[in-house]
Symmetry: C3
Subunit: 292 residues, 3 copies
């Protein structure tokens, strides 16, 4: 299977995901050993919005495969943005590089770039649209931590209305047999299109579902976006972890602010830094697939 | 011939250009194959002004030769610029690198840098002064597209007064037998020093010369710089292309704004993206020459 | 000896320094030859404050060892800094890299980073705290220029109150038999903790000690920080150099402003650019030690 661009989780089917996870697992085993499959290849990291986390992850992934990265983190200050349309910037960088990783504030920017680019485009987030590689690493982390994807109960907590991360992950998990609990303030509920009536369940408090949860996926809630009732602040506590399953996996896309206290970092169920490291392995697998 | 610094097109003679074009052609053939002539060498990309396009081109050129690039795109924000004179900054970077590519807003900055640097300086634009590697890639593109340099009719259109790009290219083409048409608003005419009286011809409308043109070189016109008369706006149209030669080469240093409509990109005569890609090959040839 | 983090000059003992200088000397001999001990390794250059000089030195050091550098010079503009604590940023980058070089405005930041990082932290300056690799390269330069460290008379001139550079160097030189002269305005005297009563000597004018000086270490004085009396401005002159020893070594951490006139650059005793180049060799030695 040949995947020229990576624009949306809608592109991913089960065989592709299986292949990616097999490759990522192989890379994870080899960690520390040099893998030089992409020597001589150049990746352009084209970030119209700053995102040190994502750009660093791709930078490291490409470097660890023996390739080189052209970092363009300052687009808004640069001549590229002076009146030049995205399409021309992409065609320019395609003259110099073998793959372009694009972060852009507008929905659909990645598709526009792909329509004119002679080299593969990888969508690293376009506005409130997609962020497919984040969904991929989230899914891979669940697979690694739980040993399976089918038959799990997954609880998502936080701002479920605005987060492209949770939306992409829900879409991807629809390929598997997963039960969902959505925990959020009323104002920040999961959009209806992602909720299966009569199957997925919605709550305003974590207490109702924490005990039955296999994977707890926490995201940030910006307090100015809702009216907190009582002491409900959608932050995890040590009490929550006490009644949670010993086998539960606790995830967060990071950066966190107050949703998960530092005291929980030592809990073996806290998987968010392993999740981030998995991002490196998954992106290495993806780059090998796209360029290899 | 040993070229320690690349400061001005005045340095280039025909034998040197022939050598560069031979090397660039060889690199173009090998595109996609790893060339590791400069492994272990470090290029410092010292940009006092942002220019993602030029800095990316050098970044890619050095990387594709197996070398490494130290990007310094943020000089104005950095400690380097805090009261430190250019000479000290250059000597500092010369301690760490094997070649310095310099973009600076002041005319003569590259020569100042070269006067104190123990490593080669490549001028990537100093104010309204020179931009020799742009002229080199423009010349190479004409050679590749037209198969020759002698006997051509070249038309330059746009702001011919302020553009260092067109000035450098005119100087370089004087080495060959080329007829020039200069098309511009009266306020933005080519400076007298670049015009040969009785040989080069000046116009205010493209229609007068489009049919006889072998190479049309379009540059940006900033409308606030002249008083447009009627509908003359120095933008190319599909009508122009209809009456142009089938073998004409259409060039633009990019970025474009409105001078060339997107609809023309599919025209096989539109060479501006090939021109940009040639910039990669020419700069690779130049780096091999300077460092090899 | 295994040194996991490099946080303070207090970590360095004589055997370690001897080893570093031996390695740096070996690297200096091999300069120009490719050293690929760290191929496949990634260094994260995490700079919360701009310092092109220091970040470029580490960038070059890692590159010349065959490794790759992830440059993060724009932390204050990036999402990393949006409310995220230093510890989470460090743990994130530790997922992607093998060593982190940290410049931070707060004293103790490097120690905080080391406390949570699974990869080595190298302190590249934390506020008015430490800058151990600068002290290391200064010490190495004295060793190379003078051929020894014991029995020397070292004069430090300028702002001795605020400079972390001179403080770290004094601490390091305490391991050897060195006599100190401290020359500064009264307002900018060396803090008492660094002065040995009855042994080290303090002056307000260089003339008093220049003739007996083996190593003259000049630093910047910001004039707004003291009331100059007469023409004392703590800048070196050609007259000073005339009465100085022919074997004296003149050092400055750079960037300079007016403390050393350009006319002295050609004096063979002017060692500040060799000092900077030594920084490259010392940091290469240190990286090999930390990662090798």
């Amino acid at each position: 299977m040949r995947l020229s661009h990576v624009l949306s989780v809608d592109q991913f089917d089960k065989p592709f995901l299986t292949e990616m996870f097999y490759q990522a697992g192989w890379i994870r085993q080899a960690a520390g050993h040099s893998i030089v499959h992409l020597r001589g290849k150049l990746l352009a990291n084209l970030f119209y919005e700053p995102s040190t986390r994502t750009s660093s992850s791709f930078y490291s992934a490409m470097s660890r495969l023996g390739g080189t990265v052209l970092p363009i983190n300052d687009v808004t200050f640069s001549s590229v943005s002076k009146g030049e349309i995205l399409e021309d910037t992409v065609r320019t960088l395609a003259c110099y590089s073998d793959v372009i990783v694009l972060r852009h504030p507008e929905v659909g920017a990645a598709a526009r770039a792909a329509a004119c680019s002679p080299v593969p485009i990888i969508n690293a987030g376009d506005g409130i649209g997609e962020h497919p590689t984040q969904a991929l690493l989230d899914l891979y982390t669940i697979q690694v931590e739980q040993g399976r994807l089918d038959g799990l109960t997954l609880t998502m907590m936080g701002d479920l209305k605005h987060g492209r991360t949770v939306h992409s992950l829900v879409k991807l998990l629809r390929l598997y047999d997963v039960s969902f609990n959505f925990v959020s303030p009323v104002e920040l509920r999961m959009p209806a299109e992602y909720v299966r009536p009569g199957i997925d369940r919605e709550f305003t408090e974590l207490e109702a579902v924490i005990e039955q949860t296999d994977v707890l996926y926490v995201t940030r809630v910006q307090k100015e976006r809702f009216n907190p009732v009582g002491d409900v602040d959608y932050a995890l506590t040590t009490e929550h972890m006490t009644i949670a399953k010993p086998s539960m996996t606790l995830m967060h896309p990071l950066p966190r602010v107050n949703e998960i206290p530092l005291a929980l970092d030592a809990d073996p169920r806290a998987a968010y830094f392993r999740q981030m490291r998995n991002g490196l392995f998954v992106r290495m697998a993806l780059l090998m697939h796209v360029l290899g």
